[in-house]
């Protein structure tokens, strides 16, 4: 005889289960658990907005308070996805405004959202608290005005790296005098000046403000004023960090930083004048996050800062840090978990910047907690990669970009297969990997064999044949996102692994060797996939089966083909599926 717990008890137990994966597992235990769970799920994460429809989400989870959606493929960040591709938030916002009156949080990434939608958000959800628009576009400061004016309980407004049409700096003034709930504001992406008096007023009436990321247009001279109003800040993004030679600005700033006893994270630092750097030295010992990736300061200055930050966990920096700075990092920052080194010059190795693979090797050697690496450089060797792998088997994210495509091991002139092979072999928990340099099919054999926890893989200018792709698709059990560009991967591997694609979120292939014929076959065999062929140049002849496609985006969905595709996307006409 089965004795089951009352629903209320189960619901209470479930309330402690917050991770999506766990929730999903709970929901498939049995029918009653599915029912109970769906009524008490409060947070939904949808990694591909086209995998499901708003109606389906609402029908299954009627009491949601927080929704997170992602739209365009990741390669949209690098201008590979043409204009008008999609990722429109509109239909989601519309339906949620009708069905989720108690919605509190909306987080969008790589989506297109209009001012109308922002206004609808601001008026539909009485308890709205969090709006995060990460790498989004399609809206202006007018939409922000509506949010400011109407969201009485807003806690977080984060516009991270979004493209905002800057119509007016006065949107900040729309926060009413009674508005005191702000905890986090990130407006670093805004191009033009905001009204400083409005900003100051806002900061003054926000006692709970913990995160403030200013845009470049906020002059350094004003920063101290803001800091004095908000000494409780935990995360600060400065504006432009220079001010001519002004000792009064410097001392005010220094004094203001001294008062910020809670500050743990710093970012911003556009247009840095190094003589102002010491102004924030008083907070360095407490810093856990430092983003200097827009600061074009040189290695000695960077090193000076790093040596003062023993508690650093996360560092983003330009390659100006050079090997010497990375050596200092390895010595000083034993708690480092994440390192991102960006290129200062996109194309040509700057003779004045000595950043090589050695810097990365040092850090992996000296920083035992290092888990996540993003590293742009101009040269790499297999021996360095092997050393890195052995030093840091606890790496979970390894993204290496050797800037010139197909660059071999600079010592042996061989492909970097065995180097990356060592990475996947030793780093057993690797969940994200980006490859670069000269690579043959062999590296994919290693990846297929060893990278069993790999969730996301990015490949460019690599491989010799379909075998490479086949190794990945057949071997990487946990693979959810695969993005490939400029590789000789084609029909054979794709069609040999069609079932795999239904276990993944998405596959992107551009400038590869996939034919339209294979896309047709894939579509026919796998009705649960949307197979979208992007033909920007208008050169595709869909009647010619061996015509190659420029860009292919395949993703699983329960919502069927999408209705908002632009004219340059080809898909299978389902009605005629039976004809061939």
């Amino acid at each position: 005889m089965v004795y089951s717990l009352p629903e209320e008890v189960l619901e209470h137990v479930f309330s402690f289960i917050t991770s999506d994966k766990d929730r999903n597992v709970v929901s498939v235990v049995c029918k009653s658990w599915y029912e109970i769970e769906r009524w008490c799920r409060r947070k939904v994460f949808i990694g591909n907005c086209y995998a499901v429809s708003p109606a389906i989400m609402i029908r299954r989870f009627p009491e949601v308070r927080s929704v997170e959606l992602k739209g365009k493929p990741h390669f949209a960040d690098f201008n590979l996805v043409p204009e008008g591709w999609g990722g429109y938030a509109c239909s989601w916002i519309d339906e949620m405004s009708r069905s989720y009156p108690w919605l509190e949080e909306i987080r969008l990434k790589r989506m297109v959202i209009t001012d109308e939608s922002l206004e609808l958000i601001s008026t539909s959800f009485k308890n709205f608290r969090v709006l995060v628009l990460s790498s989004c576009e399609g809206f202006s400061t007018d939409g922000l005005s509506a949010i400011a004016a109407n969201c009485r309980n807003l806690r977080e407004l984060d516009l991270q790296e979004s493209e905002v049409m800057d119509l007016s700096g006065h949107w900040l003034s729309h926060f009413p005098d009674t508005f005191t709930s702000l905890e986090s504001l990130n407006m670093s992406c805004l191009g033009s000046e905001v009204s400083f008096s409005a900003l100051e007023r806002l900061v003054a009436m926000s006692p709970n403000l913990k995160t403030l990321r200013l845009n470049r247009a906020v002059p350094l001279g004003k920063l101290s004023t803001l800091l004095q109003q908000a000494p409780q800040l935990v995360e600060l993004g400065t504006g432009a960090y220079s001010s001519g030679i002004r000792s009064d600005v410097y001392s005010a700033l220094s004094k203001a930083f001294l008062g910020c006893k809670e500050l743990k994270g710093l970012s911003g630092f556009w247009d840095v004048d190094p003589s102002y750097l010491p102004a924030f030295f008083s907070v360095c010992s407490r810093l856990t996050t430092l983003n200097l990736s827009y600061a074009t300061i040189r290695s000695p200055d960077i090193t000076k800062v790093i040596n003062l930050c023993p508690n650093l966990q996360r560092l983003l920096v330009l390659d100006h840090i050079e090997d010497s700075g990375l050596n200092a990092l390895a010595l000083s920052c034993k708690n480092l978990q994440e390192l991102r080194v960006f290129p200062s010059d996109m194309y040509v190795a700057d003779a004045n910047v000595t950043l090589t693979e050695q810097g990365l090797v040092s850090v992996t050697q000296g920083c035992p907690k290092l888990q996540s690496v993003l590293y742009f450089c101009h040269q790499m060797s297999n021996s360095a990669l092997i050393t890195i792998a052995k030093n840091r088997p606890n790496l979970t994210c390894f993204r290496l970009c050797i800037i010139e495509p197909r660059t071999p091991d600079y010592l042996t002139h061989e492909p970097l297969d065995i180097g990356f092979g060592a990475i996947v072999k030793h780093c057993k928990n690797l969940s994200r990997l980006s490859l670069s340099g000269l690579l043959t099919d062999r590296v994919f054999e290693y990846i297929g064999t060893h990278a069993k926890k790999l969730d996301m893989l990015s490949i460019a200018f690599a491989g010799d044949s379909d075998l490479g792709l086949h190794h990945v698709l057949s071997g990487c059990e946990s693979l959810k996102k695969l993005e490939i560009r400029d590789c000789p991967f084609g029909d054979t591997a794709l069609l040999a692994n069609v079932a795999k694609l239904a276990t993944m979120r998405s596959l992107w292939m551009s400038s590869c060797a996939v034919s339209i014929g294979a896309c047709k076959i894939l579509s026919r065999k796998m009705p649960m996939l949307n197979v979208e062929v992007i033909d920007e140049n208008g050169t595709l002849n869909p009647k010619l089966d061996n015509c190659l496609v420029e860009k292919l985006y395949v993703y699983r969905t329960v919502a069927g083909p999408r209705s908002d595709m632009p004219g340059y996307i080809w898909t299978m006409d389902r009605d005629s599926a039976n004809k061939i």
Binding site: A240, D271, P566, Y568
Partner: protein, 224 residues
């Protein structure tokens, strides 16, 4: 009715044998045959994989920091950027305001259903812009010819006559021929680009084909 793939816009069908992918590589159908030289990273769309947001930020800063000169650190004046830009210096207290919010402007070509975006900040002269647009919009007949193009001083865009010209819309909403004003001035006023059929460009007559304009690069022409 053809079974499958359907599409909205019209377009020409490329020669089946070779497809220009806009990367300087050509593909023969059914087999991938990378050109032996491979693409140079600065000729390839979306490589290196740096977010456009970041690229704009850094490029805009390069312009700014150049003008700060010795005010800053001992920043080497032959700075990291090999492309040397001079931008007008503004008041120390305020930051240089960029045209619009990004260096990307839309480019449309007559006859093509969709446009692209090009990063004007990634170029320092009309030649490189024209080459980039050639890569984006035109199909070179072989990869070999693309390589030749690289080595030429001038791309095919700038020699001979063509059915296409490159035009832009300025801040006042007027359509102008690209290439007549100094590059910096162009950057400050361009809103978007259009690769226009020469026959449609007659309205731009005042500057078109004028002999007393500067000889090279007077107007940019595109071959179909």
């Amino acid at each position: 009715m053809d079974t499958t793939f359907r599409l909205g816009g019209a377009g020409d069908y490329a020669d089946e044998e070779e497809l220009e992918l806009g990367l300087g590589l050509s593909l023969t159908s059914g087999a991938y045959a990378p050109s032996s030289n491979g693409p140079l990273s600065n000729q390839v769309v979306g490589w290196p994989p740096v977010k456009t947001y970041r690229m704009n930020s850094l490029v805009n800063q390069a312009k700014f920091s150049k003008n700060e000169g010795e005010k800053g650190a001992g920043e080497e004046s032959t700075s990291k950027k090999k492309k040397n830009k001079n931008h007008e210096n503004k008041n120390d207290e305020t930051v240089t305001k960029e045209t619009g919010h990004s260096g990307f402007v839309k480019v449309n070509m007559d006859g093509l259903p969709i446009g692209r975006k090009v990063d004007l900040n990634a170029h320092d002269c009309y030649e490189t812009l024209a080459k980039a647009l050639e890569i984006m919009f035109l199909k070179a007949s072989t990869s070999a010819s693309f390589i030749r193009t690289e080595k030429q001083q001038r791309s095919r865009l700038l020699d001979g006559s063509s059915e296409f010209v490159l035009t832009y819309e300025d801040k006042e909403g007027d359509w102008m021929l690209v290439g007549d004003v100094p590059w910096r001035m162009f950057l400050g006023t361009v809103k978007r680009l259009r690769i226009m059929k020469t026959s449609d460009a007659n309205g731009l007559a005042p500057r078109f084909q004028e002999k007393n304009q500067k000889p090279k690069n007077k107007h940019i022409e595109l071959k179909r």
